[in-house]
Structure formats: structure tokens, C-alpha cells
């Protein structure tokens, strides 16, 4: 890539910091050039986020249909999977998997619910009702 071809499409990161890119100058020698971002990258990122939004909406619907516990909604919201959620709560993965079932979730003690609530940064009542306080 030539130095003058380094893309300068302002993206999410570009507003906070520029990125270093390696590119060649007129004589073919490598040098560095700061970039504001690249349209191709920002769209890839936006596509990923659209997908996340879809997964959250699908999770919400599943909870409303009583096919999953509210944990699924918060898990998707936090971009987590079972492994990550198990890591942050300290539960085993098989326990988290069980807690994703509504009938098991409804029998959980407050102490266990509190662990989930802490990770998702909500209160226990909000956890049960899928309420988020956008702070």
C-alpha cells in the first residue's frame, strides 16, 4: 500500500485515536502513516453489532415465550457465552446451562441470583424482569 492510499474514513476508533499503518513512500521504502479508520472495517464492525442486536431480540422473545430464563437475555446483551458467564460468576458451565432453563431459574436462591446480578450490573428484581437501566 502506498502512503497516500492509507484510508482516512473516520470510524469509531478514529474519534479517539488514530492507528499506525505501515505503507511505502514514493521510493518504495516502508514508513508509517496514521489512519483515521477504513470504511471496509467499520462496516464489518457494524455488521457484527447488527448481529448482536438480533441475537438480543431473539433471546428476549425466547424468555417471553418461557423457553429460556432471563439469564439468556443478559448473557447476549453482555456479548457473553456460557464459558464467559461461568468464568465471571464462578459457577460451573453445566450449572449455568441449567440456570438458563426457566423452571430451574425460578428455584434459584437469592444468593445465586445476586451473583448473576452483580456480573450484569443490575438488581435482582431487574434481573428477573429483564429491566435494564441504561446508565
Amino acid at each position: 500500500m502506498k502512503k497516500e492510499d492509507v484510508p482516512q474514513d473516520l470510524g469509531a476508533l478514529g474519534k479517539i485515536t488514530k492507528e499506525v499503518c505501515y505503507a511505502t513512500d514514493a521510493s518504495g521504502k516502508y514508513t508509517t502513516q496514521l489512519s483515521n479508520g477504513w470504511d471496509v472495517k467499520s462496516t464489518a464492525l457494524a455488521t457484527a453489532w447488527q448481529q448482536v442486536e438480533k441475537r438480543i431480540a431473539a433471546a428476549k422473545q425466547k424468555v417471553l415465550n418461557n423457553e429460556a430464563s432471563p439469564l439468556l437475555f443478559f448473557m447476549e446483551k453482555g456479548l457473553m457465552d456460557i464459558q464467559i458467564l461461568a468464568g465471571y460468576t464462578g459457577f460451573w458451565q453445566w450449572q449455568v446451562k441449567r440456570h438458563l432453563k426457566p423452571e430451574v431459574f425460578n428455584t434459584l436462591s437469592d444468593k445465586k441470583l445476586q451473583k448473576y446480578a452483580d456480573v450484569f450490573n443490575v438488581s435482582v428484581p431487574d434481573l428477573k424482569t429483564m429491566t435494564i437501566n441504561e446508565a
Binding site: 500500500m1 469509531a12 476508533l13 474519534k15 479517539i16 485515536t17 488514530k18 492507528e19 499506525v20 499503518c21 505501515y22 505503507a23 511505502t24 518504495g28 521504502k29 516502508y30 508509517t32 496514521l34 477504513w38 470504511d39 471496509v40 472495517k41 462496516t43 464489518a44 464492525l45 455488521t47 457484527a48 453489532w49 448481529q51 441475537r55 456479548l79 457473553m80 457465552d81 464459558q83 464467559i84 461461568a86 468464568g87 465471571y88
Partner: protein, 338 residues
């Protein structure tokens, strides 16, 4: 307390941490491309059975931590590396290092990294930064991909050092144990060793079908089948993930080819062999083609393109890249080192 430390920006986090820590430890010659090349950082692997963020797992560089490890080893610099069970012990040890005058490299997760834009905060745990001072319970942080330095509270730092999920950092930190100068001869040896190792990783028969140049070819062939196998929508998401893995912070890909090209040019200053300059242009060509492929992929996930023909073109780009890189690494393999 703040250590005497100069923040340097880099294209990739681990290169940057390696460069800054080594420079601080007396290795004046080190640059980002040299760290990347001596550490044999260029790689490719596609793991077809795994998924990250519900998409394919494709890496464009070696495993996290290896660049620092290999570069230090090649330059004969002893390294301290530690992981922790306990958060308290992790913080105590960090404070001890700082008190001992060592800036420290830390592996962190980006999900809770406060100065990153929200759009970039996925659960990605192989980011690297340097802590170079502490004041009133806060830590001074030099993140090589940022233009400036940042301050994090003790809690914020603890949270990213103990991020969970795949590749969990477990508070891992590392730094060069002692300050020492490196001779020109050592640099030469490091460069040769790095090139040889990278040749091995990319084109030796031991890399198998999904890694190195073979892996690029394999991915190219797979992509042609994605449209039928996954449906247009899902295939587009897979390509978007490929591009993010290729160009985004913390992974880089097309960009890595340019850094390798820069490395070969810098290597020429130590080992004046025309083959190095010649091969450097091939890596530039490969990097350019990776970018062209990214533009093609963008056409698909934006919905502008979508026929089977478009997927074939996309796959063919990767096959072409595999050819170029195979040639380039074969040329490097055949260099007669004096």
C-alpha cells in the same frame, strides 16, 4: 511514582509492548517491524471446528505471547513472566515490579477497557499494554495502539487483568529481567533465526492443511462453498468476521504483511542481501491483495454483491495470496546466509 518511560505507538499491541519494553531495557536498535520479524509473528490458521462470537476462528499471527518470548530469547534477554490465582497477589507483584523500576507488560481483556470505544469492546482477551507508574492508587498505562497514555484505577486494571473466557489472562504480566545492550551481531543472528522460524511456520510440510500457506488456500476453497452451505446472510457474517480478524485492532492481517515487508527492508541494513528487498515487495503485493479481498468481502456483507460468482472471486483472491506468499517464503528459505 512514575518510571522514566517513553510511550511509543505501534500498529499492533504485542509488537508495541515488545518494542517499548526492550527499548526501555537498553535495546536501542529495536523497532516494531524488527520485533515482529525476529519474533516470527507472521502466521495464518483457520480452525474450522471452533467458533468465536458465532463466526469462524481465523488468526493471522502466532499465539499471543510468542512474539515477546521469541524476540527476547533470540536477543538473549532473560524474561520474568508470571500468572496469578489471586487478584491481591497480582496487584502486589505489579507494585513490586514498579518499585523495582521495571515497566511491566500485562495481558488484558478489552471488554472492560475503559478508554476503548464501546464499539470495540468484545470479549477478546489477548490484548497487551504496559503499566509504567502508579499514583494515588491509580495506574499509568501505555497502550501501544493508542496515540497517548491513559490512567486506570486499581479496580479497572484488576478487572481487565482478570477478564474471563477463552485465553483468560489470569493477571499475566511479563518484563525483561535486566537492562542490557545488544550487539549488531546478535541482531543479525536474531533476524536470521526469525526468518527461518517464520519460513518453517508458513511453508514446511509440518504445518498441516489448515495452517500457514496451506491454510490460506484451504480457507479460499472453503469460502467458495459458504454461500451454498450457510446461506447468503450467514456467509456474509462469516466474511465480516474474516475482515474484522484481518484488519482490526489486536489481530491485524493485511497489515501484518506490510509490517513483514518493512521488517525485511530493515533486515537489509543488517544483512545486505538483495533477496531481502526483492521479497519485501512480494509481501507488499500480498498485503495489497488481502486488502482487495477485504473490499470484495465488504461488498458481500453490505449486500452490494452476493452471487456465487462473487464468492468465487473472493476465494480466488485467497488462492492467489497463498501463491504469492508461498513464493516469497520459498525465496527466503533459499537465501544463502553468509
Amino acid at each position: 511514582m512514575k518510571l522514566d518511560f517513553e510511550h511509543l505507538q505501534a500498529a499492533h499491541c504485542e509488537n508495541g509492548v515488545t518494542m517499548s519494553l526492550l527499548k526501555n531495557a537498553g535495546v536501542q536498535q529495536i523497532t516494531e517491524p524488527l520485533a515482529f520479524g525476529i519474533g516470527a509473528g507472521l502466521f495464518f490458521v483457520y480452525l474450522p471446528l471452533l467458533k468465536i462470537n458465532n463466526g469462524p476462528v481465523i488468526a493471522f499471527r502466532t499465539l499471543p505471547g510468542l512474539i515477546f518470548k521469541r524476540t527476547c530469547k533470540a536477543l538473549d534477554i532473560p524474561v520474568v513472566r508470571k500468572k496469578f490465582r489471586s487478584k491481591e497477589a497480582a496487584e502486589a507483584f505489579l507494585n513490586e515490579c514498579l518499585a523495582g523500576g521495571h515497566p511491566v507488560g500485562c495481558q488484558v481483556g478489552v471488554y472492560y477497557l475503559p478508554y476503548f470505544p464501546k464499539e470495540y469492546r468484545f470479549h477478546f482477551n489477548a490484548h497487551n499494554l504496559i503499566v509504567y507508574g502508579t499514583e494515588d492508587g491509580n495506574y499509568m498505562v501505555s497502550d501501544p495502539v493508542m496515540e497517548g497514555t491513559n490512567v486506570m484505577t486499581a479496580y479497572e486494571l484488576e478487572r481487565v487483568r482478570f477478564a474471563k473466557g477463552a485465553l483468560a489472562p489470569n493477571g499475566q504480566l511479563y518484563y525483561p529481567k535486566e537492562t542490557k545492550a545488544v550487539t549488531k551481531e546478535q541482531m543479525k543472528m536474531g533476524i536470521k533465526g526469525g526468518i527461518k522460524k517464520n519460513v518453517f511456520n508458513m511453508i514446511s510440510p509440518f504445518t498441516g492443511p489448515i495452517a500457514g500457506v496451506n491454510g490460506i488456500r484451504y480457507t479460499g476453497k472453503k469460502i467458495k462453498g459458504w454461500r451454498d452451505k450457510l446461506g447468503l446472510k450467514e456467509a456474509g457474517l462469516y466474511l465480516a468476521q474474516l475482515v474484522r480478524m484481518q484488519e482490526e485492532i489486536g489481530t491485524g492481517g493485511g497489515g501484518f504483511r506490510y509490517i513483514y515487508g518493512a521488517f525485511l527492508q530493515e533486515a537489509y541494513a543488517y544483512i545486505p542481501n538483495d533477496e531481502l528487498l526483492e521479497t519485501s515487495t512480494q509481501f507488499t503485493a500480498s498485503g495489497d491483495l488481502w486488502r482487495t479481498a477485504a473490499v470484495q468481502a465488504a461488498g458481500i456483507y453490505k449486500g452490494r454483491l452476493g452471487s456465487q460468482e462473487d464468492f468465487n472471486t473472493m476465494g480466488d483472491y485467497l488462492l492467489e495470496i497463498a501463491e504469492i506468499e508461498k513464493k516469497a517464503f520459498t525465496a527466503l528459505k533459499n537465501i544463502k546466509w553468509q
